[in-house]
Subunit: 126 residues, 2 copies
């Protein structure tokens, strides 16, 4: 849920840790038509791409592997990386990972893939 | 400087800590026409506003006060806050603070204020 006043501090790690479900991003801030979301993840997501938007991953806690078709990069706490638009990727991790995501308001987090992992923007704004 | 491949991890805290000068943001990533910048700051900046853009502050280390005309908010590590477009603000801190900023590529970091603190985008991309 967006804070009533966008100037009020939001602790990304605390918001991510408080999420009841894994792979269910929650919107915590809005800036220039982009959403800042937090997520708590574990295991593997789904291979997908976002055709029209880049997606920034920022790891808050744990270690996340971003698998691409030609390489895999590993992000630790404080590391960020950008998945360019159109690039197929699949986030994975062994233990639990807390992360923040920066993406346009319109981005579906499963991209072009229809998945039961998909959460609507309305769900993400709750 | 932007990484050669945007998918390569960038550690925000390490990039901010490595900056030679305070109040001289450095661009470390680009996502959907927005820049992610890091900065190392100490003391007080200047009162200013960005007429057309929101600005997100994310504190990586230390404690930052965001002064507004009607209130002051304090951000600790992992806290973020958004300064809405047109809102006058002045970042301040006692000790040193490492932070990340998310703002459109066009944003001048001193906003509407002509200041010797202003750094050109070319300087911020070095």
């Amino acid at each position: 849920m967006l804070p009533a006043d966008p100037r009020l501090p939001v602790n990304l790690r605390r918001e991510a840790a408080a999420l009841a479900s894994t792979w269910s991003p929650r919107v915590v801030a809005e800036v220039n038509g982009q959403f800042v979301k937090v997520a708590r993840v574990r295991g593997e997501f789904v291979w997908h791409a976002h055709e029209g938007e880049d997606e920034l991953f920022l790891v808050l806690d744990g270690r996340l592997r971003l698998r691409f078709e030609d390489r895999t990069v590993e992000l630790g706490p404080g590391d960020c990386a950008v998945v360019p638009r159109g690039v197929r990727h699949n986030p994975q991790c062994d233990g639990e990972v807390l992360l923040a995501l920066f993406e346009p308001k319109a981005t579906a987090h499963t991209g072009d893939v229809v998945s039961d992992r998909a959460r609507s923007i309305e769900e993400q704004l709750r």
